[in-house]
Structure formats: structure tokens, C-alpha cells
Amino acid sequence: MHEMGIVLHLAKTLDQTAAEEKLSRISKVTLQVGEVSGIITDLFVDAWNYFKPRHPVLADSELVLEEIPAVTWCDSCKSKYETVRYGRTCPYCGSGETWLLQGNECVIKEIEAE
């Protein structure tokens, strides 16, 4: 399962951060997840709950997911539009020369720790 792999890498990155910053306990992890990052929130939370007890610093850590809306930029008419609603084709000029500006990221925004 895809989400399993992502959480595995998240846990690894957090373990490393904890070691570097000499943290004993991470009580809260806030992630920013893009609307079109392909991450299914429910599966992600299931995977998180599975991995948590296996990483001592994360044992009672709370996970917060913040969604970042997906926005596409049209190169032809220089406008922005909602990616999920219109896809790759610009609703203003019909061009396909469009680029995702934001919305596929998956970033660890901050952690609360001691």
C-alpha cells in the first residue's frame, strides 16, 4: 500500500530529527498535504497508527493534516485556476500549456516536542 510507504519514510525522517535535536518525545506532528498529492487521508491515518507504537519517540504523538488546495497556472493567458475542477485544460483560454503551482506537496510543517 502506497500510504504505508509514505508513513514509513515520515517516521524515519522524524526519528532522525529527534536524534539531531535530542528530543525524547514528539507529541504532535503537523503535515501539509496537497489536494492532488494522491494521499488518501484515511489510509494515511491507519498507516500512522500502525507505525506509531513501533517508534518510541512517536508513541503518543498526535497527527494533524492540513490540506493545501491545488492551483494550476496557465502559461498561455497567465491566469490561475482550480486544478481539481478544470484539470490540465485552462478554463479561460482552452490551452493545455498549464503547470501545477501548488497542491502535490507533502511537507512536515512543524512538530511539537520535548
Binding site: I6, T13, Q16, V107
Partner: protein, 218 residues
């Protein structure tokens, strides 16, 4: 209690491991190529052909699969050095697994190492394995709409092989529409239409591999 602002990618630890592996291989003059495609696009068949054609290049192959061993057996039968890596259910290879696989294969007396990634058009593109180049395959039977559905691998790859060109007449594959879709995602990608069965297009691809190796070592 303190709040630490990270703004770091989830895969930050993986990315650091990948960079370390890339540097290690660069110092040894070995080019690691991450070969990615959907299941059955012709990765093992293409590698077999490359091994037969590029006799003067010392090639090692790491076959990643969720569970089976058949691909490594096919490569070893050609006399190339090969190992099988099991991902134990994971749908992709990451840098840690790749570094372990390189150790198991042995990195002495090799020029090129191919990592045949798990057959999957989505997840492998999301993880840096530490490879110096990324090569992907899209086979004609899969259809010309794949860049629209699965853009990331097309965006991430240095080169794209369009495989099974010998079967083109049997499938409604619009080559022009396909390459346009790919170039919108990745203007710099090199595209090689190939048939591993007839040998069509193999020379151009193998030329690119030799150049990439030379460039890696300079």
C-alpha cells in the same frame, strides 16, 4: 515543550541517504540507472538486450520485485552479475534498500548498474534511490494517454523508452499526441522508440547510455 518549524519533505531522511549513495558511486565511477515502468512494459527484456549488445560495458543488475526471483534468473543466464531484491510488499525501492542492494551486488569492476524497480507507474517515481539517471519505459500497448494519468514519472525521468514498437500496428497509439503530452511535462526528456524484439532503435538508446556514463565520469 517546544515547537520546531521543519518545512521539510516527508522523505527528507531518504533524500539524504540517496545523495550519499550517489556521491559514493560517483567517486567509484559507477553510473546507477533507476529503470522504472508499469508491470510488464518490458524492463527485463530491454535489459537482456542491452547486456547482449553492450559487451564492452560491465553491467550489473538489481532486480527489485515484491516477492519473486524470475527476473534475476533471466539476467544471470546471460552471464551478467545480478541480484534479486525483495521489497516485502513495498511498491517501490527507496535509497536505503538500494544502498543495501548495491552492497549485496558488489560495486567492484562495474561500469553501469541497473536497478529494475518494482513494476508500477506511480510510486517508484516518488522516491530518490540515489541513481545518477532515471530511465522509464512506456510500452505501446499501454496507450498514449498515460502521461495525462500518471505525470510524475514522465516529469522525473531523464529518458523515456517507448517499447514494443514492433507491435505498433495492433494498437491505436498516437505517437505525435503522446510525445506532445510528454514534452509539456518534461521538455528536456530524451525519447527512444525501441523494440527489444527486433532491435529497432536500440543503437540510439545504447548510445545515450554510453554518453551518460562518460559524462558521469568526467
Amino acid at each position: 515543550m517546544k515547537i520546531i518549524k521543519l518545512g521539510e519533505k516527508i522523505t527528507a531522511a531518504n533524500d539524504r541517504e540517496a545523495e550519499a549513495l550517489r556521491q559514493r558511486l560517483k567517486e567509484k565511477g559507477i553510473l546507477l540507472i533507476n529503470l522504472m515502468s508499469a508491470a510488464g512494459s518490458g524492463k527485463t527484456t530491454l535489459l537482456s538486450r542491452i547486456i547482449k549488445d553492450m559487451k564492452e560495458t560491465r553491467i550489473g543488475v538489481m532486480e527489485a520485485d515484491i516477492a519473486s526471483d524470475v527476473d534475476a534468473v533471466r539476467i544471470e543466464a546471460l552471464g551478467a552479475r545480478a541480484i534479486q531484491v525483495h521489497t516485502n510488499g513495498m511498491c517501490h525501492m527507496d535509497a536505503g534498500m538500494t544502498a543495501e542492494a548495491v552492497d549485496a551486488l558488489g560495486d567492484d569492476e562495474l561500469d553501469l548498474i541497473f536497478l529494475e524497480n518494482v513494476g508500477n507507474l506511480i510510486c517508484p517515481a516518488e522516491y530518490d534511490t540515489g541513481a545518477g539517471k532515471k530511465l522509464m519505459i512506456l510500452s505501446v500497448p499501454e496507450g498514449d494517454d498515460k502521461p495525462l494519468k500518471y505525470p510524475l514519472m514522465f516529469m522525473e525521468s531523464d529518458a523515456l523508452v517507448i517499447s514494443k514498437m514492433d507491435a505498433r500496428e495492433f494498437f491505436p497509439f498516437d505517437m505525435e499526441a503522446f510525445t506532445d503530452r510528454v514534452r509539456i511535462l518534461n521538455p528536456d526528456i530524451k525519447i527512444f522508440p525501441v523494440s527489444a524484439k527486433t532491435g529497432e532503435g536500440m543503437e540510439a538508446l545504447e548510445g545515450w547510455l554510453s554518453e551518460a556514463l562518460e559524462e558521469w565520469r568526467s
